[in-house]
């Protein structure tokens, strides 16, 4: 069955991309100018024991390929090495931050899809003024980098109006969510414009299609026509763009977390980069890449699910 082949192709592509990325990430350490040991220790002085431990841990005396393989196998098993800076197990560091980042991403995703699609529908189905208004707002939205949006939001809502806390992640779920509202908006704000744009075009395009005329000629009520023919068909490009936008937002979370000083994966990454804490950089990068790829695969799969033409193949 075609669907099965499609899925296995996707998984294969995913594995390949992941593998290549891991290679890049891993070899980055050795591309860095200078002795890897120096890089790992970021120029800090090391006692002979520490140095030996590092050598052992990173198998620095072994040829490149075996180092890579052992790193990879460790990674897959969840063993991500030790952070030099914090002197802790990397996986322990990542745990709580991962959930924070995921929560942020989830909130932002819901927000951008709901608002984006909503705006797009209003523009696509509504009258001329609504359409023009949405388009103008979208243009500005797309042009704004997420950190600018973040700063503006902080300036207005946190410092100016005092509605939201400025920094930090909060404790406990409700508090965390509260802290994440502004960051989620900052993330979503930039993206819901492109979703709105695509939604608007998709709705407009589908509404003009001939099969809509057929439905109308059979006396179907307008609401049913919009639901079953316009929206249903528009869902294909809309969900694709929604998925891709979410994938694109993954990298933006890094920025927003920094701006809001949140306790997420992104801020961990930035800190480790600044302090050249390599093990962390490698591990976190892989997580981001994996996540990005997973979302992309989900998008492809949903596309196949929604569009029967992909699923079942050509005409008889």
């Amino acid at each position: 069955m075609k669907a099965g082949r499609l899925i296995s192709l996707q998984v294969a592509a995913f594995a390949l991309a992941l593998l290549v990325s891991s290679l890049v990430v891993h070899s980055a350490l050795y591309i860095a100018p200078g002795d890897p040991l120096k890089v790992l220790s970021a120029g800090r002085g090391l006692t002979p024991e520490a140095e030996a431990a590092l050598r052992e841990q990173y198998n620095l005396d072994d040829p490149f390929f075996s180092r890579y393989v052992s790193w990879l196998t460790d990674l897959v098993q969840g063993e991500m090495g030790t952070s030099i800076l914090q002197n802790a197990d990397v996986s322990a560091l990542i745990g709580p931050r991962l959930s924070s980042t995921l929560l942020l991403l989830a909130m932002a995703s819901v927000l951008m899809v709901v608002v984006g699609v909503g705006l797009g529908l209003a523009a696509g189905l509504g009258g001329k003024w609504l359409d023009a208004g949405v388009r103008a707002v979208s243009s500005v939205g797309i042009a704004t980098p997420s950190f600018v949006a973040a700063i503006v939001l902080i300036a207005i809502f946190s410092v100016g109006l005092g509605w939201f806390p400025v920094f930090g992640s909060g404790d406990g779920l409700p508090d965390q969510v509260y802290h994440l509202i502004l960051p989620a908006i900052a993330l979503a704000m930039v993206q819901w414009s492109s979703i709105a744009r695509v939604t608007r075009i998709a709705v407009r395009t589908e509404a003009d299609r001939e099969h809509v005329e057929t439905a109308r000629s059979r006396g179907l009520p307008e609401s049913a026509i919009i639901r079953r023919h316009v929206l249903r068909n528009a869902m294909i490009p809309i969900s694709t763009i929604a998925g891709l936008t979410i994938a694109g937002t993954i990298a933006a979370t890094i920025v927003v977390e920094t701006a809001f000083a949140l306790n997420g994966l992104g801020s961990l990454l930035v800190d480790s980069v600044t302090s050249k804490d390599f093990a962390v950089v490698q591990a976190v990068s892989m997580i981001y890449v994996a996540f990005f790829l997973i979302v992309n695969i989900l998008v492809d799969l949903s596309y196949a699910l929604l569009d029967p033409r992909i699923r079942t193949g050509g005409p008889r």
């Binding site: 992941l18 042009a143 704004t144 980098p145 700063i151 410092v159 890094i254 920094t258 980069v273 890449v289």
Partner: protein, 253 residues
């Protein structure tokens, strides 16, 4: 639309020649500053004007590198087809797996953070992006009857590609170039914001937003807001041009 761009272009352009002379001034503290000063007492207006240079140079590097390579790869893939196309396409796909921003961040970890490093890292990502977009159009063009007609006439591959294929792809390439510039501006500014791009004390809108964060808390949001506004304006202007060019490219189909 075009009028909008015409209005904004002069705003940015004359800032460039100005920057050279103001450079002497910018470290001086307080007294008689048009837009006020930042936390270290540096004149904001001068810094904003100087910042326009980095704001433009960074994306320019990205685009200048990524576009020729990307277009070249795309045409090569489209023309030769077969395994070369598959190889190039797979490479593009795999490159896509690594978000440009992430690549630049890792690059900053590996090498010393700087505008150049960030720009080069981003170029890789943008090359893939450009190549993908141009490739599908190049394939479409390749299968057009006129190409075959030229081939039958005895024209060489190079001639066909240079004199016929490329000009036909130009509208799309220009549109992509402009859009890439806009996106690259966002990315470079973002990287500088994170402190991984342009390094202090060089003035740059992205890092100015970051530096201004302290100011916001104390009730002086000017630095961040002005720098942010400059960024948005630039990006908006370029995007508008990019959208316009994209529309034109599509209409030609």
């Amino acid at each position: 639309m075009i009028a909008l761009v015409a209005v904004f272009a002069p705003l940015v352009a004359p800032a460039d020649p100005n920057a050279v002379s103001i450079l002497e001034q910018y470290q001086s503290p307080s007294s008689a500053h048009l837009l006020g000063t930042d936390v270290s007492g540096r004149d904001l207006l001068s810094r904003l004007i100087v910042g326009s240079r980095t704001a433009l140079i960074g994306p320019l590097i990205v685009v200048l590198i990524s576009t020729p390579i990307g277009v070249g790869a795309a045409i090569l893939a489209a023309w030769r087809g077969g395994w070369l196309d598959t190889a190039i396409s797979r490479t593009i796909d795999v490159t896509f797996a690594f978000p440009g921003l992430l690549l630049a961040i890792v690059a900053a970890a590996v090498f010393t953070p700087s505008l150049l490093v960030a720009a080069l890292a981003l170029s890789i990502s943008y090359t893939a992006y450009t190549a993908r977009v141009v490739r599908s159009e190049a394939i479409r063009q390749r299968s057009q009857p006129y190409v075959e007609a030229l081939w039958v006439q005895g024209q060489s591959t190079r001639a066909i590609c240079w004199q016929h294929l490329l000009p036909n792809l130009m509208p799309l390439i220009l549109a992509q170039l402009t859009l890439s510039f806009a996106y690259a501006t966002v990315d470079i500014a973002t990287i500088s914001f994170l402190g991984l791009g342009v390094q202090p004390p060089t003035a740059d809108w992205g890092s100015m937003v970051a530096e201004g964060q302290v100011g916001i808390l104390e009730g002086y949001p000017q630095e961040s807001l002005y720098a942010g506004a400059c960024l948005v304006t630039l990006i908006l202007a370029v995007s508008v041009v990019g959208d316009y060019l994209t529309d034109r490219a599509e209409r030609r189909r």
